[in-house]
């Protein structure tokens, strides 16, 4: 039915695709960022529409509701100010003690607020795109979190956007520790296709004394994630590999399905 040039064209395109698939990672990353810029106007339009809808919703709110919310926020603000004063005093004390012991001082975290603009359209990856890139100082392997806890790390950076690989993806492994006297540490891995709210904490000692509700934070045994970022709480634990080690199911503190604005951490 078709002529020979048609078959040659299809074969040529297939061959070119195979070549692109075998290009070095850095080259394809640059190509991806170049092609991805086509979507930027569409993301801009979507963001504009969302903002307009939010503004319209705000305009419809009754004044009494706004006053009530304002009062609640003032109260919360006062509480947080008191907590911040207490924390500042603790930091000063910590700094003095570190100086006395001759330990290196910890530098405070710097955070940058970014907006999630897209999720991965493929069902077999857990990644999102954010609206800030290398122009805003972002670089690969920076931790990303919400006010609830860790959500992942920056995996690729463009000029004006970046990709964040979420916790629970097969390519995002996080060294984590259990809070309290347990002192156990392991690696956070994926818990399965559907369990977006859960991850597994593996390679814990087989005699680890784990209880549901215990907090899990980053252990600091990594050059990417600083120590102490909340990850979630223990939901369940079981012995695996014929009792070789314990694996715990961890309920994530952050809701990965409702990511709108997230923080990039500059340790």
């Amino acid at each position: 039915m078709f002529k020979r040039p048609y078959y040659i064209a299809v074969a040529l395109v297939a061959l070119l695709t195979l070549l692109v698939l075998n290009l070095p990672g850095s080259t394809t990353a640059r190509l991806k960022l170049g092609i991805g810029s086509i979507f930027l106007p569409l993301f801009g339009v979507t963001a504009g529409a969302q903002q307009a809808a939010a503004k319209a919703g705000e305009a419809l709110l009754p004044k009494s509701e706004l006053i009530r919310a304002n009062q609640a926020l003032r109260r919360q603000n006062q509480e947080l100010q008191l907590q911040a004063m207490q924390a500042a005093e603790t930091t000063r004390e910590n700094s003095r003690l570190r100086q006395l012991l001759g330990w290196k001082e910890k530098s405070p975290w710097k955070l940058k607020l970014v907006r999630v603009i897209a999720r991965d359209p493929a069902n077999w990856w857990r990644t999102v795109q954010i609206d800030r890139g290398s122009l805003d100082g972002l670089r690969e392997n920076l931790p990303v979190l919400t006010s609830e806890g860790l959500i992942g790390r920056v995996s690729a950076v463009g000029l004006t956007s970046a990709r964040v690989i979420l916790i629970g993806d097969a390519n995002c492994k996080v060294p984590a520790a259990i809070l309290g006297d347990v002192g156990e540490s392991g690696i956070i891995t994926s818990a399965g296709v559907f369990d977006g709210a859960f991850v597994n904490l593996t390679y814990l000692a087989n005699r680890a004394n784990l209880k549901p509700g215990q907090g899990v934070v980053t252990s600091g045994f990594s050059t990417i994630y600083p120590k102490g970022i909340p990850i979630g709480t223990i939901a369940d634990a079981r012995l695996v590999e014929s009792g070789l080690y314990t694996e715990a199911q961890v309920k994530l503190a952050a809701n990965l399905n409702a990511l709108d604005e997230v923080w990039v951490l500059f340790p």
Binding site: V10, I35, Q129
Partner: protein, 183 residues
């Protein structure tokens, strides 16, 4: 003559990929995101020529991989294979029939993710797979199946509204009219 349909298909390709990344209602509801590209490939393979089929496969695949963590080019090969297979058999396909569109959409939407995962595994990648992937595959296949006739109606309607219409030539010619009756 074919500029408008081609532009429409390319616009639809861009929007299909964008919708997959920007709107998550279905993902939150059913646990899987539906990919509209296989459905669009069915429409293109049955309505356009080989050049347009190749263009949509390359453009759609590259755009999809750009928004995704897939290595660049992963989605091009499955789409190209689907389009090529459909175009080879397009004379035998009842493309106007809704059930034919539905079945072709189902097959294409089931094949595309399966082939993409196969390419990924061949490349040594480790995509998130498990028993839940079967459910996601079912949702993607059924979603694509439903989307295919909708795309045919939508794009067909837009083509009809924006494109040039073929003029229907009548066999009537006034100079060849048989005059009846006596003068």
């Amino acid at each position: 003559m074919t500029t408008v349909p081609n532009i429409l298909v390319l616009l639809a390709t861009l929007l299909a990929v964008f919708a997959g990344g920007a709107f998550n209602g279905l993902r939150q509801l059913l646990g899987a995101q539906v990919d509209l590209l296989p459905a669009l490939m069915v429409y293109t393979a049955l309505s356009s020529g080989p050049a347009m089929m190749i263009t949509v496969a390359v453009t759609g695949g590259l755009l999809f991989d750009t928004l995704s963590a897939n290595p660049l080019g992963t989605s091009v090969l499955p789409l190209l294979l689907i389009g090529f297979g459909l175009q080879r058999r397009r004379d035998l396909i009842l493309r106007e029939e809704k059930y034919a569109q539905l079945v072709l959409g189902l097959i294409a939407s089931a094949l595309a993710p399966a082939l993409s995962v196969l390419v990924l595994l061949t490349l040594g990648q480790s995509p998130l797979l498990g028993w839940g992937s079967l459910w996601q595959w079912t949702v993607m296949s059924l979603g694509g199946a439903v989307a295919t006739p909708v795309l045919f109606v939508l794009l067909g309607g837009l083509n009809h509204a924006l494109g040039y219409q073929r003029t229907i030539e009548s066999s009537f010619r006034p100079d060849r009219e048989i005059r009846r009756g006596r003068k």
